[in-house]
Amino acid sequence: MSQFPLRLRSAVLTGLLILTSSLLFFAAGAHADVPLSSPFQTSRANSGTPKSDHVSTDKSGQVTSYGNSAITYNLPPAALQNLGRALYMQNCASCHGIEANGVPPTGTSGTSSNFPNLLGVGPAAIDFWIESGRMPAAEPRDVQSKRKRARFDHTQAMAIASWVNSLHPGLPLVPTVNTTGADVVNGASLFALNCAACHTITGGGDALAAHTYAPSLRNIPGYQVAEAIRTGPGNMPRFTGNLTDAQVRDIVTYVTVNIQHPVNTGGLGLGGLGPVAEGFVGLALGVGFLALAGFWVGERND
């Protein structure tokens, strides 16, 4: 580069500068109006909306809890809103914006769908992402945020959810699953139909398209299973009116009982990976060991 005449060099650099800043300008402008997240909508009874067996409202008419014998949905306490706002501003606003609408504070460059609009997503979604440790995102540019140790405890997560929800109330509220009376046989069948195609029939998870993946279900608490089913985080489909609360309860029970404590009376589970792992063991341990035994039985050449 140093051989080129000075004029040429400065011309090229200026051109690049103009190009980059105009790109940023375009990008910033393009992010100007981010669509509202799609609402949680279903008209089916007992499927995660206040159209349930029992509903409670507060003095101002806002729904604070609803549900049935399978799942109860609760609004995070309003008293936590100030705490929630403070936590949000410290930890979430840099990406999700000070108005939680996905528009980052002015001055920050670079916008994309990695900073989604949180208005109207509902408290259950926010609680899920925070308590599973996926948020705050360690690497915002990752296609899919990884599950890790949660930065906030349950109260703090409720606080953030409470505040964000107060900006634009959404559904569903935070579920608590009551596993008594669950039909684990029905849960097994529904799991095979709806969940196994991504999470595998043994719940181990696997890689999906374009750097996304279905996570393992072997270490997840029951209420997070329910939150994930109802809210459809990331690329996971959202199960609203296609699953009633009783069905979600059955699936949650199946996951927490049978997926997470599989019956392995046959011996070592080999990771539940299926015939691939079994093949390796059979060939390496079975044929390999027996071939070595043959090495002992037989002779070698001089």
């Binding site: 046989v185 139909l193 696997d206 079994e278 090495f295 002779e299 001089d302």
Partner: protein
């Protein structure tokens, strides 16, 4: 005078001859069967001892385990797709409507005493069976044991490999669980893809559209009766030819094209081989006890609208799954019909090419080397570099395709995208054999050039003199080194024909033993 002769114990014993009452029994048998001569010849048969000749025995004995455990399983398994309500100890299935095949397999695992062990031994033995056949076939290939006069035995063995793979697929489809049922759907679609006759073939095998209610009972008869009967027949032919033509052996001290050096059938070989049978059975039982395989209760019953992610067929079908994944979506359909090339090539034509190449190999090699001689001595793989390299290249492609059947597991494990794994596999399937062939060729040639390559070397003792000079001397050979082989002798007691009786009047020669 009385005709009775008083027989004392001693005189009775002496009357029996030098071999006692056992000898008398054998004599009586010989009067009826005439088997003394043949039995003697058989017992004197020499079996060469090289360890690589044990690999076929692993296959044979795991087949024995399959037969024995299979009989047990067949007594409990119900080959029916009629729906029943499952009642048993596994809670997530309690009260579910499932096929009788699935319910009886679950009962075998949980309700029948010893059933879980037998089921798992059966499945592990199958994996070991096919694995041992492949390893044994590789040994035969790389040492050139398929040459004249053993081409027929090679074909018989190859047919048994195909039958073993088929029977394995049929067998693990019998419990009618979610994972194996998906494999059935794929098999149905592969049959459909055959041009011209595909739809008829699929409809005839399955008795109609998928899944139908005939496939499980039909697969059961094939798996339990027809294919094992074929394998038993072929194994008998395989062993008969082996005994008749005698086993091959590596060259070495005292070994020529016209002799066999090793241990006699009785007692040494019988002891070692039966010990090996016990070891194979015991090893399979240990695997069946400690390592879970095919936990069908976790999969649930098959339902055509359900599926699990991350399923693969058993390992010996893996190469087919791999090539089905990486094959591009090329379909011919602009002429009024469809040839689903993306299925027909990987699943029908490619295995056809591979197996036919294997069948034809003795002929191909004979044409290429113009060698029509009998061969009873084996090659060291390094001494036939082109054959070894070709075999290694073909094997590497099949191994790569087997790995390609778990693209999603690899992507998950290495945290790379699914798409990049697939594209890598598509490239590797050409690169890997293209690299394996010349590399193997080179390695063989290098090994040939090494003096005394592969032989047991005498160690050197390195000492240092007072002036600092290093001296290396050959270590004294240990006289009772276990592997120091003696000069080969004839079998202990041997028989020669009396002088003048070498050719009897009927023109049949008498054999010197």
């Amino acid at each position: 005078m009385s005709k009775t002769i008083i027989r004392t114990k001693r005189s009775q014993k002496e009357a029996l001859g030098p071999y006692g009452s056992l000898g008398k029994v054998l004599g009586e048998l010989d009067d009826r069967l005439g088997m003394a001569k043949a039995g003697r010849t058989f017992m004197d048969k020499i079996f060469p001892d090289h360890w690589s000749f044990m690999l076929g025995e692993i296959a044979l004995y795991s087949f024995v385990v399959l037969l024995a455990t299979g009989v047990f399983l067949g007594l409990y398994y119900v080959p029916s797709q009629a729906l029943v309500t499952y009642h048993g100890s596994y809670a997530p299935l309690e009260g579910m409507r499932v096929t009788q095949a699935f319910a009886s397999s679950i009962d075998l695992s949980f309700a029948v005493r010893g059933g879980m062990l037998m089921r798992q031994m059966h499945h592990w033995a199958c994996d070991i069976f096919v694995g041992a056949i492949v390893v044994h076939m590789a040994r035969v290939f790389f040492t050139g044991a398929f040459r004249k006069p053993r081409e027929l035995n090679w074909s018989i063995g190859l047919t048994m490999l195909i039958l073993a793979i088929t029977n394995g697929f049929l067998g693990y489809s019998l419990p009618d669980d979610l994972v194996s049922g998906t494999g059935l759907r794929i098999a149905y679609s592969i049959m459909l893809s055959i041009p011209g006759v595909g739809t008829y073939l699929a409809y005839f095998v399955f008795g109609g559209n998928f899944p139908g209610t005939s496939v499980i009972p039909r697969f059961f008869i094939l798996h339990e009766l027809i294919v094992p009967a074929l394998i038993v027949g072929l194994v008998s032919a395989h062993l008969f030819l082996l005994v008749r033509q005698k086993h091959t052996q590596f060259g070495g001290r005292g070994r020529t094209e016209t002799n066999v050096v090793g241990s006699p059938m009785f007692p040494v070989f019988i002891a070692k081989t039966n010990g090996f049978l016990l070891l194979v059975t015991g090893g399979t039982a240990l695997l069946g006890a400690l390592a879970q395989i095919n936990p069908i209760w976790q999969f649930g019953p098959y339902d055509a609208s359900k599926i699990s992610y991350a399923v693969q067929p058993d390992w010996y079908m893996g190469f087919l799954d791999g090539i089905l994944r990486i094959m591009p979506a090329w379909s011919f359909h602009n002429f009024g019909h469809t040839i689903p090339w993306e299925v027909t090539f990987p699943a029908v034509i490619f295995p056809g090419i591979v197996f036919n190449l294997c069948y034809a190999w003795p002929t191909i090699e004979r044409l290429y080397t113009k060698d029509n001689n009998m061969h009873n001595l084996l090659d060291r793989p390094r001494d036939r570099p082109k054959r070894t390299a070709a075999g290694a290249a073909i094997f590497s492609v099949l191994a790569l395709l087997f790995i390609a059947s778990s693209t999603d597991v690899i992507a998950n494990f290495l945290h790379v995208s699914l798409e990049s794994v697939l594209w890598s596999m598509r490239a590797l399937v050409f690169i890997v054999p293209a690299v394996t062939y010349p590399v193997t060729l080179k390695i063989c040639r290098e090994l040939q050039a090494v003096h005394d390559g592969g032989k047991r070397k005498t160690p050197n003792v390195v000492t240092r003199s007072a002036t600092g000079e290093y001296l290396a001397t050959l270590a004294p050979s240990v006289v009772d080194d276990v592997h120091h082989e003696l000069e080969a002798e004839l079998v202990p007691t041997f028989i020669t024909a009396d002088a003048g009786t070498s050719l009897s009047s009927t023109g049949v020669r008498s054999v010197e033993r």
